[in-house]
């Protein structure tokens, strides 16, 4: 089977998976006690006619399977319903915040990967040296740390004690939307995300580098009398980075959902904070739309990883 048909087949499977996951999200939301209508049904101050009217206006009076069909069709066509809390289309509520999340996530993704890979390579050059031990222990140290607590500690030191950086949010009124103002708000959440996630990439790169250096073709290259530098960076590194590609794919979803904690601590007005607030407000149209976006992102990044992997590793045959 050729590459094109492989890609097409994978995309079809991915779409089916999106529908399935969206279905599971719907079922969980509607079957858990305390689902969408409970608030309305248990509030004694809402009279029965009012209740019927409210239910009808949100389409909650229809049978569950009709709601389900409307939900699935709506998700794929961008018609995500009206937020119970903001009383605006859920699509609009989310669209306002997507940029903010990307502003935090994209730089932290890039920084984590670059710094992680560099530290991993430097550790692998001399395994079990003092440097290697220090980097590995430090990576583990931050990996075991709750992101929200690390954020807290950084805020206490840099915002409360030293008064160097703002205590949260994305912009300040005094800053007037300048770049330096934005960067000063971005610094702490960014550092938190990078530190907590660094171990994923540094430990992985280190181990796969050490593994690769142990293989026969490296011995062959040594036998040919190639220089250490050439072997390390040209022959070994390329292959050692393959697992990192897989990690990156998994990491996208993980970073996205992990944003809930970091954004909450730093009051960063992105999708993570919105997820938390919507759960608190029981704002089901927004919750379901956010879950849909998260699922699509996770499935899409897994798909992209598989396809890129195929290009990078000649041993993988598309089939």
């Amino acid at each position: 089977m050729g590459l094109a048909s492989y890609v097409v087949k994978r995309i079809v499977v991915a779409i089916a998976l999106v529908v399935l996951v969206a279905t599971i999200n719907f079922v969980i939301v509607h079957l858990t006690p305390g689902g969408p209508t409970t608030v309305l049904l248990t509030n004694p101050r809402i009279t029965p006619p009012q209740r019927a009217q409210i239910l009808a206006s949100y389409g909650l009076d229809k049978p569950l399977y009709t709601q389900y069909v409307l939900y699935i069709v709506g998700m794929f066509s961008g018609n995500w319903g009206v937020s119970y809390f903001y009383l605006e289309p859920a699509y609009y509520v989310i669209a306002q915040r997507v940029g903010n999340t990307l502003l935090l996530m994209v730089p932290s993704l890039i920084l984590t990967i670059i710094v992680g890979i560099l530290l991993g390579i430097m550790s692998a050059r001399k395994p079990f040296s003092h440097f290697d031990r220090f980097v590995s222990s430090a990576a583990f140290f931050f990996y075991a740390m709750p992101a929200f607590w690390l954020g807290f500690c950084l805020l206490t030191v840099f915002a409360l004690d030293l008064r160097m950086l703002p205590a949260g949010g994305m912009t300040s009124i005094a800053g007037g939307g300048s770049i330096t103002d934005l960067l000063s708000h971005l610094a702490l959440p960014l550092v938190t995300l990078v530190l907590v996630n660094l171990a994923n990439f540094s430990l992985l790169t280190r181990t796969s580098m050490i593994d690769v250096l142990d293989q026969n073709y490296i011995t062959t290259a040594r036998g040919k009398g190639l220089s250490d530098r050439l072997i390390f960076y040209r022959h070994a590194l390329r292959n050692a980075l393959l697992p990192t590609v897989t990690m990156t794919g998994l990491f996208v979803g993980f970073l996205l959902t992990g944003a809930i904690l970091t954004e909450s601590v730093f009051s960063w007005p992105g999708l993570g904070l919105l997820t938390f607030q919507s759960i608190l407000n029981r704002d089901y149209p927004v919750i379901l739309s956010l879950f849909f976006i998260f699922s699509v992102m996770i499935i899409a990044s897994n798909l992209a990883t598989d396809i890129i992997y195929g290009f990078l590793d000649p041993r993988v045959s598309f089939g």
């Binding site: 305390g34 181990t207 998994l250 990491f251 959902t257 938390f276």
Partner: protein, 293 residues
């Protein structure tokens, strides 16, 4: 690897100093949590309005909170919450993962396909938001939180056990058993399972920090508040942070961090002793774990 006895095992395990420290820390915490009623007052929730928001001192090493409760006491009692969820969810996810992995690997075919596709779907769910939502809807209960975490974190364990079973299913001693007409139950639980125990133990101890961090996250966001838990203590500290009561957030957070670190150190030690051959494979476990934190 076989050990003549518990003593040999402990000697081998103790060679890793970090693992030993982790184990001693955990035993200390467990004992303190168990006997908290004898060490401290019986009800840590009693407010003492004469001693609110005291910074750490000799009398109150971790300080006191806005109700005058002793933070050291709250943290020791809070260990009960964290450790219950940690061990409960750990055992449950190990159980679900092991049984589904064994069955999938041994029977193969459609059974395998069904179980592994289910696992794949679980791996593509937005886990943390879902856990938070269900915890918020189902209400604050230790059992709910424990169940939710276990039910969303078994797939990686299932994958690991399955791939190991596949590698073993065609080995001679299993074939011999089959030819001799041993029951499926006997092959699965008397032969395949014991050979997986090291791996299961190592992986379970590796998953527990993630369980602890997830439980703390649910509590920290205050979506299903259990009054005496490390995460919820941090949540309360949010309101007193600006007044400079750093100890209210520092110590509960440090408890979460040090306990999850202790489990990592223990899993590292177990890995070296129980699965020496796995050294190369270990980071593939780390890859599978990513995205589950």
């Amino acid at each position: 690897m076989q050990f003549a006895g518990a003593r040999d095992f402990l000697v081998a395990y103790s060679r890793n100093k970090g693992a030993l420290v982790g184990l001693l820390y955990l035993i200390g915490l467990l004992l303190a949590a168990l006997f908290a009623g004898y060490i401290f007052s019986v009800n840590p929730n009693t407010p003492y309005l004469s001693r609110t928001l005291l910074p750490p001192s000799l009398a109150y090493p971790f300080g006191t909170d806005y109700l005058g409760r002793d933070l050291l006491e709250l943290i020791i009692y809070g260990a009960r919450t964290s450790l219950t969820v940690a061990f409960g969810a750990g055992v449950l996810l190990a159980l679900i993962g092991t049984v589904s992995g064994l069955v999938a690997g041994y029977f193969g075919g459609e059974v395998d396909g069904f179980i592994m596709r289910t696992a794949d779907i679980f791996l593509t769910l937005p886990t943390l938001p879902l856990i938070l939502l269900v915890a918020a809807l189902a209400g604050p209960s230790l059992v709910n939180i424990l169940l939710i975490i276990a039910l969303t974190s078994w797939p990686v364990m299932a994958r690991i056990v399955r791939s190991n079973v596949l590698a073993m299913a065609n080995q001679e001693f299993i074939l011999v058993e089959r030819v001799m007409g041993a029951s499926v139950k006997r092959i699965l639980f008397d032969h395949l399972l014991p050979n997986q125990m090291s791996l299961i133990l190592v992986y379970t101890s590796l998953s527990i920090p993630i369980v602890i961090l997830t439980e703390a996250a649910i509590e920290f966001l205050g979506l299903a508040p259990i009054s005496i838990s490390w995460g919820f203590l941090l949540n309360i500290a949010l309101s007193y942070w600006i007044q400079g009561a750093w100890w209210m957030s520092f110590f509960p957070g440090f408890a979460i961090f040090s306990t999850s670190l202790a489990f990592y150190l223990i899993s590292e030690g177990l890995k070296e002793v129980l699965t020496p051959k796995l050294k190369r494979k270990r980071e593939s476990l780390a890859v599978q774990l990513a995205g589950k934190k």
